[in-house]
Amino acid sequence: MADNFNLTTDGGIATLTIDVPGRSMNVVTSQFLDELTQLIDQVVADDAVTGVIVTSAKDAFVAGADLMWLVNIYDMKLPPAELLKENQKFTQALRKLETCGKPVVAALNGTALGGGLEIALACHHRIATDKPRAVFGLPEVQVGLLPGAGGTQRLPRLIGIQPALELITQGRHVSAEKARDLGFIDQVVPAEHLLTAAKEWLESNPSAEQPWDKKGFRVPGGSGAFHPKTVQTFMGGSALIARETQHNYPAPIAILSCVYEGTIVPIDTGLKIEARYFTSLFQNPVYRNMVRTLFINKGAAEKGARRPKGIEPAPAKKIGMLGAGMMGAGIAFVSARAGIDVVLLDTAQEAAEKGKDYSRMLMTKRLEKGRTTQAKMDQLLARIHPTTDYADLDGCDLIIEAVFEDRGIKADVTAKAEAVLAEDKVFASNTSTLPISGLAEASKRPDKFIGLHFFSPVDKMPLVEIIMGEKTSDQALAHAMDYVQQIRKTPIVVNDSRGFYTSRVFGTYCNEGMALLQDGVGAPLIENAAKMAGMPVGPLAVHDEVTLDLSLKVHKQTQADLGDDYKPLSALPVALKMVEELGRSGKRFGKGFYDYPEGGKKHLWPGLSEHFPVAATQPELQDVIDRLLYMQAIETVRCVDEGVVTEAADADLGSILGWGFPPWTGGTLSYIDTVGVAEFVARADELAAAHGDRFKVPDMLRQMADKGEQFYESTAERSQRSAA
């Protein structure tokens, strides 16, 4: 008896209804596939059945694969032959269905993604409803995989190689109408007519043969290594994928190969080719890393995984935003967008109004692109109240300050705001450099004082780093998290430290870029190696963006705060020389490591090699990559060791969403697991011997290596533990 399906027959028509128990959406699991395979056998063998309808009992048809199941497949480490055999079962079942001689129609009552769409593609006819939110596509590439149940074979055979590749390599989904225009949905009908339309089609004496099983079939638009159009597609496609992935993500090129190789041969051979590439992706940790961090852990963080239990939710209706500069204006925008009233306070009314203008500018752009309406824009703007008067903060559920990074000014606004703020409400600082516990000393109620570190530009950057001061209470944390959830950002929670977690580790990336320069490594090699490692921007370019000027300010502040305890960053002399001697303080100042010609593309400053001579012997590319990635991972381990970061998921999410650590790694700590902790320690020791103590790993990591531990436990360990 199937758990995930209901099979009913009525006058020769079998209706297979997908209804995964205990889930709001149908998702594909191993059991789902076993049952479907069995039911297909049953329907095919049943002589009384003359036609089949496949549909779902939920709002959507099928949303795709269960992500936890996908992650576990990697951890199970099945031998490739066994995994291949498993993977082929579903493909073979669908193949059996489409060649059984009975017409099969997919009645798509809603969204069909991934495996769901692949089931539909193996039907002879696809009818979708006109449900406005329903989407159709093969998004597997986004979790580092490919559609492994015939998606890479049937879609190009239906709609042509170029349009199919655009959907599959980008994981894009489209509406029912668009899918019909592209040619992979045959009919779009009102929801109430769906099953009638499906029956009508079955009664119309339809062909039960797929186009690709008909004699003389050709892929629409051509295929193969001779067809000039497809040759162009594949030639350009390979290079574009190389550019986008920098060879770090195996799925896109595997998809391209499935389509290229698979459309030269008959579909049965094509399906075998697809199964081999599909299985090969499961051997590679990249998909596991991406799914674990960017889907499972990100989703959990957004649902409040780190929110202290047992505290009543307290969503904010009104917040106070102190400082209407770049950050304040951005926070005001995302808050107003979430339906929260914002008192936007600055020292001059003009400055406060200017902060509100930022929201007006963003919404006008959206309006021009048709992504919002005038009414919504007016509503949003009406929620932002620019002022200079602290009394206006009365009734706020939360106050966030984003004033100058100056302790005196911060202490002043804290006192003024707390005078108005209700005693049980949270006061948050958006500082990125000053320790929270120190700032909290200016507060009358340090237990309600917390750090909410936003990233710039606030409307685009998904992360908020929440910093717990020494005295911050669980309640303050819970309420701060409620607000972060309201504005639909992803929270991570860290403990107080200079630079907290993200700024601190990001700083080591910038520093390592300068250290490489100091060591005589050519600037292009530094920047290109960073991109090839998967960083979005090279360390010199990104340092220009945040400005070297800021780095020096932080340096001076830290020096003043710590005195003799201060250990400056190893490559500080490079920043000092750039700023103080050469007057090149960063992009905002028109020049830094790069030149910024007006109207032209930026390029590395030719004078760099004069002031930082390039050594005759250059390191191997991999050495440069290792220095850049290891440095960030090791600093993260220090944060774990010092208790700044307590959860691996926080470290990993923060690193990818905060400063762009390569998603293929799954994050800074997941990267260490991926390399292997012992291997990582050995390599770090080599780097420390060659380049200095900053590569020395904390003893904690060495002990983990000795004990064979890693940051994430595998499924095997988990089940062992729960059995014990």
Binding site: A225, F226, T230, V231, F234, M235, G236, G237, S238, A239, L240, I241, A242, R243, E244, Q246, H247, I253, L256, S257, Y260, E261, G522, A523, P524, L525, E527, N528, A529, M532, H603, L604, Q618, L621
Partner: protein, 402 residues
């Protein structure tokens, strides 16, 4: 080992490789057979004495497919006992064919053979034969494939040749080729191509643009910006050459080899058969070598192949009087000159493919013949000819007059 001697060389004029070109109406087989006829007639050859006809061809499909050498020999009325084979070492195919013919003689397995090549680029466009290199995603991705033009621009970027440098080289090529034609330097080797009525269709290279100036060339748009920037090939190139900040796109139609139609053949044999047939040897083939080099930059094979053949022959660069390196792209020759420390006065002295065109499968035989004619004209002794090759290879041959 038997020595292999060059007895003769002929080539067709090079027709513009488009429908308006004078050789567009001529089939590739006809180009081959007229070359073979000329070699036979000029040398009063008893073709039954030939042991092989080897022809290079880079896009051996369609009317250019299925062994142009055998079919061309049959059409030229060669004795049916003369076999033919077609080979493909991309842009060096013509030279490789001569080397292969020579190798048979040197190893004592043949007495007399023809090596040459053909490419009718107006009729069988470059790339017509498909191939995995560019279009199979696994191959393209894992070998970091980029088109030749990107490789040429990468050479310029990595080795510091500016747009002005490559354009200046091209101006000189045009001027040298025009001067050579005006003074009849190619007269001994270029045969007119005739139609079915015996009327001359073309007797002179028609791709040249004599009088080309730096200003003319400066106005041309760089040809590989779009594939480089929009299709991702610049990024592919930088992944292999991360020490380069960016690709400086300097090559244009004006400083790259022209697309043309043409064929060429070289008669090679032992000393003994020359004496027997009353043929006068013009040069001895001292040695030849092919190498593989990094495939993404693709066109840096000339240096290593030159060094290899010099080593094999026990010679040094200073023993060579003239160099002839196919002008696939200006940067290829500039890099070879830089790396080998060769003065421009000593290389491509009568211009090259930038002015006259590069009929892919045939060019290798043409550079050999051209430099042999020039050795004779200047009464010099030794020459090294050389081509850069797709997928990262190089083929070089040293000849010495006798």
């Amino acid at each position: 080992m038997t020595d292999a001697y060059i007895y003769d060389h002929v080539r067709t004029p090079r027709g513009r490789g488009k429908p308006s070109g004078s050789l567009h109406e001529v089939t590739p087989i006809e180009l081959v057979s007229q070359v073979l006829e000329a070699l036979r007639d000029r040398n009063e050859l008893d073709t039954s004495r030939l042991d092989d006809v080897v022809m290079g061809c880079v896009s051996p499909v369609g009317e250019q497919g299925a062994n142009v050498a055998r079919v061309g020999a049959l059409m030229a009325g060669y004795h049916q006992e003369v076999p033919g084979k077609q080979l493909n070492r991309f842009c060096a195919s013509g030279l490789e064919a001569v080397n292969t013919a020579a190798a048979q003689v040197m190893s004592g397995q043949a007495d007399l053979a023809i090596g040459g090549g053909v490419e009718s680029m107006s009729r069988v466009p470059m790339g017509s034969d498909g191939g995995a290199m560019a279009s199979d995603p696994q191959v393209a991705y894992n070998t970091y494939f980029a088109p030749q033009g990107i490789g040429a621009d990468l050479i310029a970027s990595k080795y510091g040749f500016s747009r002005e440098d490559v354009d200046a080289y091209a101006v000189e090529s045009q001027s040298r080729a025009a001067h050579a034609w005006e003074n009849g330097y190619f007269g001994n080797s270029v045969i007119p191509i005739k139609d079915q009525l015996g009327m001359v269709l073309l007797d002179r290279d028609e791709h040249l643009r004599p009088g080309t100036t730096l200003e003319d060339l400066a106005s041309l748009k760089a040809a590989f910006v779009i594939p480089g920037e929009q299709f991702g090939f610049d990024s592919v190139a930088l992944q292999r050459y991360p020490e380069v900040e960016r690709i400086n796109h300097v090559h244009t139609g004006g400083n790259s080899s022209g697309i043309v139609d043409g064929a060429a053949g070289v008669l090679v044999g032992s000393k003994a058969i020359g004496e027997e047939l009353g043929l006068k040897p013009r040069a001895r083939i001292r040695g030849f070598a092919s190498i593989g080099s990094e495939p993404t930059i693709m066109l840096t094979g000339p240096g290593p192949s030159a060094r290899k053949v010099l080593k094999r022959t026990g010679m040094t660069k200073d023993d060579i009087d003239l160099f002839e390196l196919n002008e696939a792209f200006a940067s290829v020759v500039l890099r070879f000159m830089q790396e080998m420390e060769i003065d421009h006065d000593q290389i491509n002295v009568n211009g090259g493919a930038i002015a006259m065109g590069h009929p892919l499968g045939a060019t290798g035989a043409m550079v050999l013949g051209t430099v042999l004619d020039e050795l004779e004209r200047r009464d010099l002794n030794t020459a090294l000819c050389n081509l850069c090759i797709g997928a990262g290879m190089g083929t070089a041959t040293i000849i010495e007059r006798v």
